[in-house]
Amino acid sequence: MRTVIFRTIAPYLAALMVLFSIFVLLRGHNEPGGGFIGGLIAASAFAIYGIGCGVAAVRRAITFHPMSIAAAGLFLGGVSGLPSLFTGQPFMTSQWWYVHMLGVEVPLSTPLFFDIGVYLVVVGAITSIALGLEERESD
């Protein structure tokens, strides 16, 4: 598996895939995409990076334990349902804010954060499985 070509190309490929996954995640509300599919793309990116350059390199690159990333995602997903409670609406009613940044109107919403939560859970859970399997001498 670890040919020179693959080893050389894997980091660039993985970086591009992660970038693409974020693009897919963010455009999901209007175009094909979303947190789940974005998460799958990012997870495959890490899997490829791991196969090419070793699990240790992936773990260094993502800093946190993948399970912690998944947990953070689940937490974010839960928290994103709370703002509606302050306006007296049921849990998880979507809230929208239109923020002007650098002259552009950016729509922010609780479903966006929820989708980011989904993304993180999928990335975290699948990456941790893939890395766990790739590591031969894990403990």
């Binding site: 995409g33 997870a43 479903p111 499985i129």
Partner: protein, 796 residues
């Protein structure tokens, strides 16, 4: 939420929970002195309820409520009347001193903050329990007391005895709690009433039900386990493993009274039936006798007190069970007296243990000079416990004797049980309060001296309260006893309490007999103790041992059952799983005659045929693949073909996801295969090949048939129309699939990602499971590395 008036009950119940959050930080900041500011919380609660007393004594009751789960008629509501006010006063009043005492008792303990936090959690739970109006609210606080008591008993979690006692208490009281829940649900189902106040106003609403006996038994199951009635009494003495503040608070003054509280609370609707007046006096009476006799055997101060607590609870249940007005007056007085003197005596026992280093009564003596204040408090409390004037314990005993003797004269058994029980109680009171202090000075493990003010404030205050309640007997009667008796009897009752007996009657004579019998027995205490120990050794078995046997049996049963169901062979699991799937698909299709009708050959374009051909060739490749890895990769061909089909038919999201899932599953399957150390080729004998092939075909045919049948049915467009119409207008998104996932059905997705996360955790755990010997090798290697590293550091 207002902070005055009955509405503030919410604030009063929630305040301890807030204090529980603050306690660890306060302790880190102030050390043991944090107890002073923290004790202000229960003190404020006490003052709040004390402020309600005049109104409650005037016959008023409040039921503040907020909706909780209105769909099921569940509300978060409280009921403030005579009974609950007395209990709330006891909990917050004794709680104030317990917090102070815990400050002194665990001074310097690294987890003192955590301990105080647990105590506050318990206090809040207990307040909620006695004030709970809605049955579900009440039940939840009931369970919270079991859980917090588990945390407190197991506080010293490094000792196996603590852990066992905590678990035992949780299993017994939690199990009883489940019975109680069943009882409450039956009450709700039978009557449609969900709150105590309405239920109490309903009169015979429960007694006239055909299922009344079952309801009663379920409620008794909850009450008897919580209040440690025989044969469930064993957890209470074991709970003495907890630090003494816990024993003084939970296991004498408050939590164990929850069962008695429930019986008293429900007496107007459940009581005064043949069943009630049979079961309760029998179990209460046995508990009283067993408790006092077992107490005599003990030499440990705390255990002696614990068994007399069991006995006192038995006495209360017995009196409540008679349903005689006078006996219930006695029970209410005794309840008040017991909380005061037993709380004080437990704290005294803890102080002796803390300052002298032992609480074995045979190794203590002559401490009166070293600990005069504690001695004084012990004497006052013990006199009340012995039922001697001028203490509230005396009044209680007068009233209860009067109640059981005067009822119909013939209840000699109950009277005899009460007299013997009370005499033995006097023996224990004397043993606890006199033995350690009188006589010649005995060398103790620690050099004994008076404890700090944090330690003696509680015993002194509680024992003096016992005296004050008796001296101001009239006020006690008007403000506390009459409202409570009215609650328990369900009709307004005025009890005229006075310290000096109005006439020389049976009660006084019985009292004299009790005292005389008690003194005789106290002088023969050593003989009595030896006799009891011999008797118990002869019996050899008790419910405590039975508990261990039940638990051990349960563990071994579940072990053998698991081994039976999960043999550990992956091929068996897989075969069974797919067999069940095949049957679940095929059997209903056949039985209901829902096989799809013959489908005409579809009219496809040439490229669509091409894709189908790729999918089929992928499947053929799986079947003829030489190695497992080739088979896995070939499976991916079919998956990609399906993804392309999705794309062609206008489902880009689905297709996208299918591509990724297919890629990842091939990668992960391949990785799994490399770890499993299987032979690269898969050779199976003919018979399993045929059997497994048949099962696989069954699943495939079944699923295909089901899908075809589903597509034959008329399609209901209402959901699609809804999403198409509103996805843009309500959810501001054009991608319907995504909008459904994150907005319309966001809650489902939330559940799903939780499942994804859990599945990830489980897989991770499974990957890391290794055979035991491999684990040990890894451990040895790690230990070796560490040793090497250390020696390396040493060399440097």
């Amino acid at each position: 939420m207002s902070i005055t008036g009955p509405e503030a009950t919410f604030a009063a119940v929630l305040a301890p929970f807030a204090a529980a959050a603050i306690a660890p930080f306060a302790t880190r900041l102030l050390g043991a002195n944090a107890a002073w500011p923290l004790a202000l919380v229960p003190a404020a609660i006490f003052l709040f309820f004390a402020g309600l007393v005049p109104e409650v004594a005037g016959g008023a009751s409040f039921a503040p409520a907020v909706d909780w789960v209105p769909a099921y008629g569940v509300s978060f509501s409280f009921y403030v009347d005579g009974l609950s006010t007395l209990f709330a006063l006891l909990i917050s009043g004794i709680g104030t001193f317990i917090i102070l005492y815990a400050g002194g008792y665990l001074k310097g303990h690294p987890h003192q903050g955590r301990f105080l936090s647990f105590l506050f959690l318990f206090m809040g739970a207990m307040l909620g329990l006695v004030l709970g109006n809605d049955l579900i609210t009440l039940f939840i606080f009931w369970e919270l007391t079991s859980i917090t008591s588990f945390l407190l008993i197991g506080f010293d979690h490094l000792r196996a005895a603590s852990r066992r006692a905590a678990l035992q208490a949780l299993v017994v009281t939690g199990g009883g709690g489940l019975l109680l829940l069943a009882g409450f649900l039956m009450i709700i189902a039978l009557t449609g009433v969900t709150d105590m106040a309405t239920l109490l106003a309903g009169g015979d609403i429960l007694r006239e039900q055909a299922l009344y006996p079952l309801v009663l038994l379920l409620v008794l199951g909850g009450a008897f386990t919580k209040s440690a009635q025989f044969p469930f009494h064993f957890w209470l003495p074991n709970a003495m493993e907890a630090p003494t503040p816990v024993s003084a608070f939970l296991h004498s003054a408050t939590m164990v009274k929850a069962g008695v509280y429930l019986l008293m609370r429900m007496h107007p609707v459940l009581g005064d039936t043949a069943l009630w007046t049979t079961i309760l006096p029998i179990f209460g009476g046995i508990t009283l006798l067993v408790g006092t006799l077992l107490a005599v055997r003990q030499t440990d101060l705390k255990l002696m007190l614990a068994y007399t607590t069991v006995a006192s609870l038995g006495l209360l249940v017995m009196l409540t069970g008679t349903s005689w007005d006078k006996a219930i007056e006695g029970a209410v007085l005794y309840l008040l007296a017991h909380s005061l003197f037993k709380g004080a005596l437990f704290m005294v026992a803890g102080t002796i243990d803390h300052e002298a280093g032992t609480r074995d009564v045979t190794r203590l003596g002559g401490l009166r000079g070293a600990m005069p204040i504690t001695f004084a408090a012990a004497c006052l409390a013990a006199l009340s416990m012995s039922g001697l004037p001028p203490f509230v314990g005396f009044i209680a005993k007068e009233y209860l004797y009067d109640g059981i003797w005067g009822a119909s004269g013939a209840h000699l058994t109950i009277t005899a049980v009460a007299v013997i029980g009370n005499a033995l109680m006097l023996v224990i009171a004397a043993a606890v309060a006199l033995k350690p202090f009188l006589g010649p000075k005995v060398e103790t493990p620690k050099h004994a001296h008076e404890g700090p003010v944090l330690l003696y404030a509680g015993p002194v205050a509680l024992s003096l309260a016992g005296l004050a309640a008796a001296v101001m007997a009239h006020a006690t009667g008007v403000y506390f006893i009459s409202p409570v008796v009215s609650s328990v009897l369900g009709t307004a009752t005025v009890v005229d309490v006075h310290l000096v007996p109005g006439y020389i009657g049976a009660a006084l004579i019985l009292s004299l007999i009790t005292v005389a019998l008690g003194i005789v027995l106290y002088l023969k205490l050593d003989v009595l103790r030896a006799q009891m120990q011999r008797l118990l050794a002869a019996i050899g078995w008790g419910p405590d041992k039975g508990f261990d046997q039940v638990i051990a049996g349960l563990v071994s049963f579940s072990g053998s059952f698991t081994r039976l169901v999960q043999g550990g062979r992956l091929d068996v699991y897989m075969t069974l799983t797919f067999l069940v799937t095949a049957l679940a698909l095929l059997v209903p299709l056949t039985l209901t005659g829902n096989w799809p009708s013959a489908v005409p050959m579809p009219d496809l374009r040439f490229y669509e045929w091409g894709i189908l051909a790729i999918a089929v060739s992928g499947l053929i490749a799986v079947l003829i693949a030489k190695t497992r890895l080739t088979a896995i990769v070939s499976l991916g061909i079919q998956g990609f073909a399906v993804a392309v089909i999705f794309m062609l038919f206008g489902a880009p999201d689905l297709s996208f996801t299918q591509f990724m899932v297919e890629t990842l599953s091939v990668v992960i399957l391949a990785l799994v295969m490399t770890r499993l150390n299987l032979r690269p080729r898969d050779h199976r004998p003919l018979v399993p090949r045929v059997v497994q092939g048949t099962i696989a075909l069954g699943v495939g045919v079944g699923l295909a048939a089901l899908l075809m049948r589903v597509t034959e049915l008329p399609f209901d467009r209402s959901l699609s129309d809804f999403f198409e119409t509103y996805s843009r207008t309500i959810a501001h998104g054009r991608n319907i699939v995504n909008v459904i996932l994150v907005d319309f059905r966001g809650f489902d997705t939330f559940g799903e990602i939780a499942v994804v996360m859990l599945a990830g955790l489980c897989v991770l755990a499974l990957i890391r499971v290794r055979p035991k010997h491999a684990r040990e090798e890894a451990f040895d290697r790690a230990a070796g590395d560490e040793a090497l590293q250390k020696s390396g550091e040493a060399r440097l």
